[in-house]
């Protein structure tokens, strides 16, 4: 039986802007050291140039870290007590270079219920587009949060 979900539907179609986020060498260094990233193009200008880029680039999931700095409103789902980060998707569209200034634009993509072996969960999905200082889209990120009974 389909569940009639109660939440703030007025959030659909509203864009939440954030940024600019400056992609500093320090941010890339710290992201690299936390995961043991050794790819030369992510480590230095020289390594990136050898791989055919004009300068050092950020690892492809850096926007997935930045997305957590976008302030998003409460969807006010009237279901469950605990919430967890259920999934994430990234579609990189263009390289992000050290020194870039990125802006983010997020909107509510979907709210839906799913029933499996462990019971019913309600998923809230946000979609964020990151663009650089030239207006070029560099990544699309989807975050999915699950509320459990």
């Amino acid at each position: 039986m389909a569940i009639e979900l109660e939440y703030d539907r007025s959030l659909y179609g509203v864009e939440h802007k954030a940024g600019p986020f400056e992609i500093t060498n320090e941010i890339i260094d710290r992201a690299n050291s936390s995961t043991g990233e050794t790819g030369p193009a992510f480590r230095s200008d020289e390594g990136a140039k050898e791989a055919g880029y004009r300068g050092r680039i950020a690892p492809p999931t850096l926007c997935c870290i930045l997305v957590r700095q976008v302030s998003l409103p409460d969807v006010k789902v009237k279901f469950g007590r605990t919430q967890m980060h259920a999934g994430q998707r990234v579609e990189p569209k263009a390289p992000v270079y050290a020194g870039d200034q990125l802006t983010a634009s997020s909107h509510l993509k979907d709210v839906y219920a799913k029933t499996g072996r462990s019971g019913t969960m309600v998923f809230v999905v946000w979609e964020t587009t990151f663009s650089n200082q030239d207006g070029l889209v560099v990544a699309e990120v989807q975050e999915s949060f699950a509320k459990r009974e």
Partner: protein, 139 residues
């Protein structure tokens, strides 16, 4: 780095073993600006959320999965990485990352490889799973 003409359906990417250390997780949370205390770096907060210990942030496991793919296909080879965080991932334990190629195709001039990707634990725990599309160069 691999080229498209070398790849066959069913080929494996990896496996590689990685460990998310306490220090690595703390560093990652700083980059992200995670509010503290949190269940990623504070055992008490983790216990309150029903976790057996501090856990690795989902987005950090995603960065590790992406690394498996960029080491294999090149720094900007990932076109799509879509992951489900199935179980809490512990710190300081060996994690095995691997992918299996499920489709190879040419689309709008790109040479695409689709794969199922998985992060598992030493007892066979399936921590993080999903799908990825990687574009490879053609020789």
């Amino acid at each position: 780095m691999h080229y498209f003409d070398e790849i066959e359906l069913g080929d494996e990417i990896g496996p590689v073993e990685k460990i998310a250390t306490d220090e690595g997780v703390a560093n990652f949370c700083d980059v992200w600006g995670a509010p503290t205390p949190n269940r990623f770096t504070d055992a008490e907060t983790a216990a309150k959320s029903g976790m057996p210990g501090t856990i690795v942030p989902g987005i950090m496991t995603m960065a590790m999965m992406a690394q498996l793919l960029t080491d294999w296909g090149g720094p900007d080879s990932i076109k799509d990485l879509d992951l489900v965080f199935r179980q809490p991932v512990p710190h300081n334990r060996p994690l095995t990352l691997a992918a299996t190629i499920t489709d190879v195709r040419e689309e709008e001039g790109e040479h695409l490889v689709e794969c199922d990707i998985l992060m598992t634990g030493t007892e066979g725990e399936r921590y993080v799973g999903g799908k990825a599309i990687v574009a490879l160069k053609q020789r």
